[in-house]
């Protein structure tokens, strides 16, 4: 593990000395890492040194889940709270830890030794339950590991001295197809671009039919061409490694096991569009990868594959900086990611203009997913026919899936596009499957009757998340988990998403506690449709998908919990009197309302 001071220098405060333009977010992340919160004197110093007001700095801190202005524990523990973690008993484990350490979930212990809370999916669905401890990932939690952690914390053992086996993140693929099975030759793709020219690269990517691996599926060739043809002095290459979609971890695998392919793909893009600088926007949850990625960059610099005069071409200079995220799902949206790269709150921009013409600092920028860059490098190395040999005409090639949930072998699977859900389920050892959530919380819930459908842009598109539920699962819990996730992650910019995500949580809760009526289901469906039609960005437009799919495909889940009356209040009148009962010391029958006051 890299020591703290080195990370400080790398990421934040050295910026103030003029090494790179000062970046507020990176500076704040460094302070948070050092103090476990951002103390007011540091905030004052930062404001004085940067010329940015304290109010503005605080507005940035308040946006990101991993930044705090109040002191947190020396050990800050965040349990991943995706449905897949919950299915593996994460809440019981968090309760064990909470009791063992004497700290309530969501709080900091009085002696400031430890803080405990939940966080959105940390991308460890194949080795869950998982948690972050001071930004480092701990996987495969068990009651005995919880005991071990309690002892390590109570004995004040520095994180660097914790047993290494706690931090093991498995980096193998369960199934390989053409992309993972083909040997990659370093520098082959960039050499090809330097030899044959950018137009040849665009043409080959076009012939291969490569589409964005984040889920939206925009043509990579078109994106690169548009950026290359935008008139500007400077262009940027940005890798979106902010893999926040619950249940997705295929980019984690690529970053961990195939970083060189990624850097090759980014360098290829830079050569083709004419960029000198690039960024990897690495989600804060993947901080454990920072050191290995830095060394992958260094190795390429040493081999003249990154930096000045790449492969001896004096006019080809390109380098990559890693920026960390700080706990905000919305920053996976490309324009919000760019805002965040600029050190701001991650609010999605209005489009047009698109990043290809006005991206980072208003300059043309290609933003691509990790998988897209890796595939681009392989296509230029192997040729478009190689990629097209599998897949469908509209979705050529393969897709990396992150498979988690109820199956014997969760993990990374490479499948050709066009593979049916049934084939995938059989391959990963899923039994008595009731439903699959494809594409994460923002994706679609696929019921058993649709298992003959395929993974493809023209059928069921996905960024890579594939969560399996067997017949013993209560699907409404998953729908609730996803709905709460969106409430937590909405950026708050537009009305339908900001207010709608909170209202959906309230309405769904009313169903869960058995107080809802038919009218409430209608209201939920109307609100969901409004969010889909009027939200500013993809988050709001998809936030109601879990509820819409649930209502459409599993209506009985909801109907079985309804009351027979036509209207019910949103709260339990009798329960609301509890405070008054406690204050007056009464608990006699006259202090209660029959039937909850209905």
């Amino acid at each position: 593990m890299m020591d703290d001071d080195a990370q400080q220098t790398e990421l934040g405060m050295s910026n103030l000395a003029g090494k790179e333009p000062f970046n507020l977010l990176q500076g704040l992340i460094a302070l948070q890492h050092k103090h476990h919160y951002i103390p007011s004197d540091e905030l004052e110093r930062l404001a004085a040194a940067s010329g940015i007001s304290e109010t503005h700095i605080t507005s940035v801190i308040d946006f990101y889940g991993f930044l705090h202005t109040m002191p947190h524990g020396e050990y800050e523990i965040l349990f991943s709270d995706n449905i897949t973690d919950q299915m593996q008993g994460s809440h019981l484990l968090a309760d064990l830890l909470s009791k063992g350490l004497g700290v309530a979930i969501g709080t900091t212990r009085e002696d400031l030794r430890v803080s405990l809370d939940y966080t959105s999916c940390i991308g460890m669905g194949d080795q869950s339950p998982a948690a972050l401890i001071n930004g480092q990932t701990i996987t495969r939690l068990t009651p005995s590991r919880i005991d071990q952690i309690i002892q390590l914390i109570e004995s004040s053992t520095p994180l660097q001295q914790w047993p290494e086996e706690l931090f093991v993140v498995d980096g193998k693929a369960q199934r390989k197809a053409i992309v993972l099975d083909t040997e990659y030759t370093s520098a082959a793709a960039i050499q090809a671009c330097l030899d044959k020219g950018a137009e040849a690269v665009f043409n080959q990517l076009e012939q291969a039919g490569l589409r964005g691996g984040g889920g939206a599926g925009f043509s990579t060739a078109s994106k690169w061409r548009l950026c290359a043809s935008a008139a500007a002095e400077k262009r940027f290459v940005v890798c979106n490694a902010d893999e926040g979609e619950p249940g997705t971890f295929k980019d984690r695998f690529l970053l961990q096991s195939h970083a060189d392919r990624l850097i090759e793909g980014m360098t290829l893009c830079a050569a083709a569009i004419g960029a000198n600088s690039g960024f990897i926007y690495l989600r804060g949850e993947y901080r454990y990868l920072l050191e290995s990625l830095q060394s992958a960059l260094d190795q390429r610099r040493n081999k003249c594959l990154l930096g000045d005069a790449i492969l001896g071409h004096n006019d080809f200079n390109f380098d990559i900086t890693i920026h960390l995220g700080a706990g905000a799902y919305i920053c996976g949206e490309e324009s919000a990611l760019i805002e965040s790269l600029e050190g701001k709150r991650g609010i999605p921009r209005s489009r047009p203009p698109f990043p290809v013409t006005q991206g980072y600092n208003g300059l043309p920028t290609v933003v691509n997913n990790v998988e897209t860059f890796c595939n681009a490098a392989m296509i230029i190395q192997q040729g478009p026919e190689w990629y097209r040999q599998v897949g469908t005409p509209a979705s050529p090639g393969t897709k990396l899936l992150s498979i988690s949930g109820d199956c014997d072998h969760p993990g990374i699977y490479e499948f050709p596009f066009g593979t049916t859900i049934t084939e995938i389920l059989s391959c990963c050892g899923a039994h008595q499957t009731m439903a699959v959530q494809v594409g994460g919380a923002a994706g679609r819930l696929v019921s058993k009757s649709e298992f003959n459908r395929t993974i493809a842009f023209e059928d069921i598109p996905t960024g890579g998340s594939f969560i399996i539920f067997n017949q013993s699962r209560e699907l409404l819990r998953a729908i609730e988990n996803f709905t709460q996730f969106f409430q937590h992650e909405s950026c708050g910019f537009c009305t339908p998403c900001r207010v709608g995500t909170s209202l959906l949580v309230k309405q769904l809760n009313k169903v869960m506690v058995g107080h809802a009526t038919t009218k409430d289901l209608e209201e939920m469906s109307i609100l969901s449709s409004l969010m889909k039609k009027t939200s500013h960005c993809g988050l709001g437009q998809t936030a109601a998908n879990p509820i819409l799919d649930g209502l459409g495909k599993f209506p009985k889940l909801f109907q079985s919990r309804l009351r027979a009356t036509s209207f019910e209040p949103a709260f339990d009148l009798d329960a609301s009197l509890e405070e008054a009962r406690q204050l007056t010391g009464r608990d006699d029958p006259n202090a209660h309302l029959e039937g909850g006051g209905v």
Binding site: E54, S59, D62, S350, C494, P496, R498, S502, L530, T534
Partner: protein
């Protein structure tokens, strides 16, 4: 002759660079909105101006006008959507029209009337929000803030003071004031700032002028918002 689109069947001319909203305003056609004010860069956050363009929903204030677009504005479906958006705004904050000094000159209230909203229906959030009366000339009631960011933009773009910022995330987003204490009285805000005159609701109000104009004689008591437009432009005319 090119550069025309149709809005609810009416042909509307536009010049290159104009948004759908710009062209509609110029042609005297009302598209309901709250966060838009033609003096500022379009924002697109309230989503009230969502129109249907060739089958797709877009915000009129941020979408460039283009030749031949067929745009639906005041259809049953879109008005229903707008009513729902307004209900969301009403339950998110604490909007008590009968007790509000801005009543009758409030855009939120006037657009709600325009769209036929009768009751908020959704569960009220009843957020705990403060009132900031620290400034000698201006009062801020955060209960009524709808996060349109017009004061943020006015203070930043025109007053060059950046008195206001949006902080937090999601439903916890809120307006903050750039001063050591976080209070308006401690900032360099003055009542002559542009930011003092752009609030479409009753969140930023002048002090010492309560009910100067009686309810019943106010802007939207006289004519609907679809005819008289934004309150800010009338406010400025009165000030001058």
């Amino acid at each position: 002759m090119s550069n025309h689109f149709t809005l609810d069947g009416v042909t509307v001319p536009f010049t290159t660079g104009q948004t759908i909203m710009d062209a509609a305003l110029k042609a005297g056609i009302y598209i309901p909105h709250l966060c838009h004010n033609p003096e500022f860069k379009p924002h697109g956050s309230c989503r009230l101006c969502t129109v249907n363009v060739n089958g797709r929903n877009v915000a009129a204030c941020t979408t460039p006008a283009a030749e031949g677009l067929e745009i639906e504005n005041e259809t049953h479906e879109i008005t229903t959507q707008r009513r729902l958006l307004l209900k969301l705004l009403f339950v998110e904050g604490n909007h008590v029209c009968p007790a509000c000094e801005k009543s009758g000159a409030c855009q939120l209230q006037a657009v709600a009337y325009h769209c036929g909203m009768l009751a908020p229906e959704f569960v009220h959030f009843y957020p705990k929000r403060a009132v900031d009366a620290s400034h000698p000339e201006t009062i801020i009631d955060f209960n009524r803030c709808i996060l349109c960011e017009l004061c943020v933009r006015a203070s930043h773009d025109i007053d060059k003071k950046s008195v206001f910022t949006i902080s937090g995330r999601g439903i916890h987003s809120h307006l903050t004031i750039n001063s050591p204490s976080g209070k308006l009285g401690d900032s360099d805000f003055t009542a002559s700032d542009k930011a003092a005159r752009v609030c479409p609701v009753g969140a930023i109000l002048p002090k010492h002028k309560g009910y100067n104009k009686p309810i019943g004689k106010r802007l939207y008591d006289q004519a609907p918002i679809s005819q008289v437009g934004d309150v800010a432009q009338h406010q400025e005319a009165t000030d001058e």
